[in-house]
Amino acid sequence: MSRKQIQQFLFPELNRKFLIRVLAVGIGAFVIFSYILIPFRITGFSMEPTYRDGEINFSFALNYIFSPPERFDVVTIRLSGTRVMLLKRIVAFPGETVAFEEGYLMINGQKIAEPYVSERRPWNLAPRTVKEGHVYVVGDNRNVPMNTHDFGQTPIHRITGAPLW
């Protein structure tokens, strides 16, 4: 690479072509990172050990365009917008009953194997039915008192996407 080329790369001439390129990159990045790959940083321990406090990830908003969410998918759930979201795992769908017995997840009365849970406290929650248009979500970290862990049913339309990795 010649000196002139390096100079041109580092200090490009402010011509029309360059300005259009900068504008296109700016608009493209804005659209992608605002609506398609929404960056987020995990704060808290509710999804440990799968996702750890402080990790960076992206919520892929197009994940459920062609197929609906499936059981055990990890999803991002919006509050009033996408600046603050919840990261949870879907465990049940409309019409199913959810309960916890001594820390074990029960769906329709059946104990469910959850390989992503490493340690658990003896959570006990009476059976409840998931409402139409809702999904039941829980975090992977069950090694905390049940009343300090945010989980429950939420409208499907609140799902904004799935973490990219």
Binding site: N15, R16, L19, T43, L79, S80, G81, L86, V137, G152
Partner: protein, 166 residues
């Protein structure tokens, strides 16, 4: 080259005009956002605070609410109406429990069902350190109703939204 210079100049002028518009001709949405950010600033606390400063902040917070305020937070079993004069003591008591407080509001969504009424959905994020050293991080979706009184937007109602229902 002359054209490019003119283009850049025109762009800068347009950016300046847009900035001036937002600075000097704020719409109601911007005014309401500003009100919530001011509320967050007043709620903030960094270590020990003189009683007089705490009282002044509580009084300023009180002035942001209408004469009667309804607070509904289902997850905490709260549903009651306050006279705005009762807000100050509550704010003083709540802030005194924490060493540090940081409050932020994000993701505003506005609806204006009537001329002088606004319904705002927003997310509140509270980071605090209690007197005993326990770190608290809470976030809630809220719906707040505001009324315009003498050109000022006053909060008349705050309701918590249960995003997850156990």
């Amino acid at each position: 080259m002359v054209n490019v210079k003119h283009g850049i100049f025109a762009l800068l002028m347009a950016a300046g005009a847009i900035l001036a518009f937002f600075l000097f001709f704020q719409g109601d949405e911007a005014k309401i956002k500003k009100r919530f950010h001011a509320l967050a600033e007043l709620a903030e606390k960094n270590g020990n605070e003189h009683n007089l400063i705490a009282a002044k902040k509580a009084h300023q917070i009180e002035k942001m609410f209408s004469k009667t305020v309804r607070i509904q937070i289902p997850s905490y079993d709260i549903d009651r109406s306050f006279d705005n004069r009762d807000i100050s003591p509550h704010v003083l008591y709540a802030r005194a429990r924490y060493q540090t407080i940081s409050l932020e509001f994000h993701d505003f969504r506005f609806d204006f069902p009537e001329d002088e009424t606004a319904v705002v959905s927003l997310t509140g994020v509270l980071n605090a350190l209690t007197g005993s050293g326990e770190r608290i991080r809470e976030f809630h979706e809220m719906v707040s109703t505001l009324e315009k009184v003498n050109g000022e937007w006053l909060i008349t109602e705050v309701s918590g939204v249960d995003v997850l229902e156990k």
